[in-house]
């Protein structure tokens, strides 16, 4: 089996190298797109991985919380700040920061509320019961979005500047991509600080390791779990704002599709493992961008979903602990 995997990796590397040789400028443009998408996926993937780490529950509704965050920020940018292509930088920054804060708090509270209503009553039930309610919540949230905005896309005008930050070999790295990274990285750093350095983070890690032992040590397990959902929802809210700004359109099923991709990223990196989720998200971002963008023998966007899910299935079957490895019941 390792031989086949190695051969596949070599073939993949060869394909990338040939593409790089045939059009280096084009290759790097695609590379930057992949990096930006990957950063965005990381925000959502971290939410999956946080919740899975602590509850061993795939929070299906997470992608839809992200979607509602996007719709919410889009509405806020348009209605409260009346952003358009000519807004001044000061207004832009203020609007983005304010929307980011509101979207994060709103999505955090929403996610915690979902946990309280749909998952906590089922703590002692068979493992499949909360998974089923999670699917139900996902559908409900999608219909909330349909009821609010209708089934069409909600558009956000292109407000981000598109000037250049730097360029490699004639390929321009533009501001709108850089802003995505600029929002994502501090959020990720704050999360790592929270989990590694604070008391609440310690409680989260302890609860994830052994819930009953943590309870004996005096940790309020239910509150810690609520807190984890709050954090995950805040990340989703930030992701929603970034998505709305960068892609410019969002609708009720955006969250479901992107959520599955982000979940794949979390599994690829090793679900329950925070750096793993970021790594997996970047990899998935690159894979998607290369698949859709490269010109020499790329399968194209018709196949993106199949490729992502094939990766998911292969990882789950052959290496359920993911690339960086967190010992899960499957992998242990």
């Amino acid at each position: 089996m390792p031989v086949i995997a190695a051969m596949l990796l070599v073939a993949l590397g060869l394909w990338l190298a040939i593409n790089l040789y045939k059009g280096p400028a084009y290759f790097f443009t695609i590379f930057f797109i992949g990096l930006t998408n990957g950063a965005l996926y990381a925000l959502v993937a971290l939410g999956y991985t946080l919740v899975y780490g602590i509850l061993e529950l795939i929070n299906f509704a997470h992608g839809d919380v992200f979607m509602l965050g996007g719709l919410f920020s889009a509405t806020m940018l348009l209605s409260a700040f009346h952003l358009n292509g000519h807004s001044s930088t000061g207004v832009l920054v203020a609007a983005i920061v304010a929307s980011l804060g509101v979207a994060m708090v709103g999505c955090g509270l929403l996610n915690a509320a979902i946990e309280r209503i749909a998952y906590r009553p089922l703590r002692g039930a068979p493992r499949l019961a909360p998974l089923i309610t999670a699917i139900g919540m996902s559908f409900i949230l999608q219909d909330v979005a349909i009821g609010w905005k209708g089934p069409g896309y909600t558009a956000v005008p292109e407000v981000l500047p598109t000037g250049k930050v730097f360029s490699i070999g004639g390929v321009v790295y533009t501001w709108e991509k850089f802003i995505v990274v600029l929002i994502t990285v501090p959020v990720l750093l704050a999360l790592i600080w929270l989990v590694q350095r604070t008391k609440q983070g310690k409680a989260m890690r302890a609860t994830a390791q052994d819930r009953d032992a943590a309870a004996i040590m005096g940790i309020n397990v239910n509150r810690t779990i609520s807190f984890t959902f709050l954090i995950a929802g805040m990340l989703a809210g930030a992701g929603g704002l970034v998505y709305a700004l960068y892609f410019g359109q969002i609708r009720y099923d955006t969250g479901f599709e992107l959520g599955l991709i982000a979940f794949t990223a979390a599994v690829l990196g090793g679900i329950g493992n925070l750096p793993g989720a970021v790594l997996g998200a970047l990899l998935i971002g690159f894979i998607q961008a290369f698949n859709e963008g490269l010109q020499w023998h790329a399968p194209g966007s018709n196949w993106t979903q199949s490729i992502v899910f094939s990766i998911l299935i292969l990882i789950l079957v052959f290496r359920p602990e993911g690339l960086l490895g967190e010992r899960t019941p499957e992998g242990g």
Binding site: E56, L57, I58, I117, A118, P121, L122, R123, G124, A125, P126, R127, L128, A129, P130, L131, I132, T133, I135, G136, M137, S138, F139, I140, Q142, D143, V144, I146, G147, P151, R211, D212, A214, A215, I216, V221, N222, F256, L260, F263, V267, N302, W303, Q305, S306, F309, S310, L312, I313, L316, V317, P320, P329, E330
Partner: protein
């Protein structure tokens, strides 16, 4: 929360009984039959009052209530004729008779309050097809306890198998094995639909085994995700299958789908001698309004009966008991010598088999296999039927399938119209169909995880689980 809601319901129940002059002790002393009657009567009054209060009253509610009560209240299953215990088949036979005769009286029934007119025959055909699928999924979810979120893949495979074996898709071939209704010189592969149904089932079952072998060792939610992945991949392959890998191999005709697909039929000889329709598309009406839908409806009833028979027999077989053992405790089952992988794979293959037959029949009824018919929501829709009705219980699953199909195809728009008329609102209820199914999933899981008509065993499993207080909740529960 579940406990609080149930406690308040039972509190209201005892208060109501006491108000009627039946305190707790007297109620306990009553004979069981009389308790059943009082219970049923009370519920009927509540439902009828609710309907009247909503202002959607219609006299037919009395008839509907009477029929439901006649089936549900008397203990038919205890009935004996002489020494033979015929009771067990009375209710199923009554329901079957009502179903078979439906094409004759369905359109003549009066409107029901709230629900409006009775479903059309075409909706009932779809309901039959979904019943087969729900029973197929019940093998996987209900019996073996494996969550399958990609069941739509098997549905799609069945439909496309019908497309391959009973249409002009492969126009370079020219093969006719007992197919009916072909024009002279038709190209393509045409098997008789009666052969296509089992062929589709076998192809889908093989696909199920191929998918299951690597993935079924995964536990619970990981398996759910992997099946979801397959459920997303296969429809995409169908959508892109008109030139796979840049070649000209056209398997699925891409987004346009494969159409037309042959109808079932019995051929001219059987029509001449037994009056069976030679071709369903040109079937005589048999005294009903619509011969086409009627013959498709009766055929699907036969298919559902076969599925019910297989479900019941397999459930009680050695294999079925092994499934239930795995569902209850995988480790203990393995320790008792049950081969986990083989048993699970059989559950998967059996479920896939019936999903494939249902898909092929659906394709034949719709005369086409279209990639847009197969998406994730359908998987959840079928799962919702199984969960609402009661995982593992055949009758519950049938009820869930028929009721939800009706809701999806006609009920929601009927109810929406009636509610909007009365309240003067303008809610487009069918727009929220999947949110409503999602809400059903959540509410059923929170309040009655074993479903409306549970199997007794499954209910016990859920309640044992719920009463097993985790340590960190002990403080809250004790307070």
């Amino acid at each position: 929360m579940r406990r609080r809601v149930l406690a308040s319901i039972s509190g209201a129940w005892w208060t109501a009984l006491a108000a009627l002059g039946l305190p707790h002790e007297r109620w306990r002393a009553l004979p069981a039959m009389r308790r059943r009657i009082v219970k049923a009567a009370l519920w009927t009054v509540i439902v009828l009052l609710l309907i009247a209060w909503l202002g959607v009253w219609h006299w037919s509610a009395f008839v509907a209530a009477a029929i439901v009560l006649a089936i549900a209240v008397p203990r038919w299953s205890r009935t004996r004729v002489g020494k033979r215990r015929v009771g067990r088949v009375i209710v199923p036979l009554a329901v079957l008779a009502l179903a078979v005769a439906y094409p004759y009286y369905g359109t003549k029934l009066p409107e029901l309050p709230l629900f409006g007119p009775f479903p059309q025959l075409s909706t009932m055909v779809i309901a039959g097809i979904f019943t087969m699928m729900a029973l197929g999924l019940n093998f996987v979810v209900g019996y073996a306890g494996l969550l399958d979120l990609g069941y739509v893949a098997f549905y799609a495979m069945g439909a496309y198998s019908a497309g391959w074996f009973a249409s002009s898709q492969f126009s370079r071939q020219k093969l006719n094995v007992g197919a009916v209704g072909l024009y002279p010189g038709a190209t393509g592969i045409h098997f008789s639909m009666w052969l296509v149904l089992p062929i589709a089932g076998v192809i889908t079952a093989i696909a199920g085994i191929l998918i299951g072998l690597p993935t079924l060792r995964l536990r619970g939610d990981y398996l759910a995700i992997v099946t979801l992945g397959f459920g997303e991949i296969l429809p995409q392959v169908a959508r892109n299958g008109d030139h796979l890998f840049g070649t000209n191999v056209n398997l699925t005709n891409g987004t346009e789908g494969i159409t037309p697909i042959d109808p079932p039929g019995f051929g001219n000889w059987l029509q001449a001698h037994l009056h069976l329709p030679s071709n369903f598309l040109t079937a005589p009406s048999f005294g009903t309004g619509d011969g086409l839908d009627a013959v498709f409806f009766w055929t699907v009833i036969v298919l559902v009966l076969i599925t019910i028979f297989c479900s019941a027999r397999l459930r009680d077989s050695r294999l079925g008991r092994a499934w239930i053992a795995i569902r209850e405790d995988e480790t203990a089952a393995a320790a008792m010598g049950i081969p986990l992988m083989r048993t699970k794979t059989w559950a998967y293959a059996t479920g896939a088999f019936f999903g494939g037959i249902a898909g092929a029949y659906y394709a034949s009824y719709k005369s086409g296999a279209f990639p847009d018919d197969f998406f994730f929501q359908i998987s959840v829709f079928i799962l919702c039927m199984v969960i609402l009705g009661g995982m593992g219980n055949i009758w519950g699953v049938i009820f869930g399938a028929v009721f939800l199909t009706y809701l999806n195809y006609e009920g929601l728009s009927n109810i929406g119209t009636q509610v909007n008329d009365k309240l003067g609102t303008n809610i487009n209820l069918p727009k929220y169909e999947f949110g409503i199914f999602g809400a059903i999933l959540v509410i059923v899981m929170l309040l009655r995880p074993e479903g409306l008509l549970p199997s007794r065993r499954r209910a016990a499993e859920f309640h044992e689980g719920v009463h097993d207080e985790p340590l960190y909740d002990a403080e809250v529960a004790g307070a």
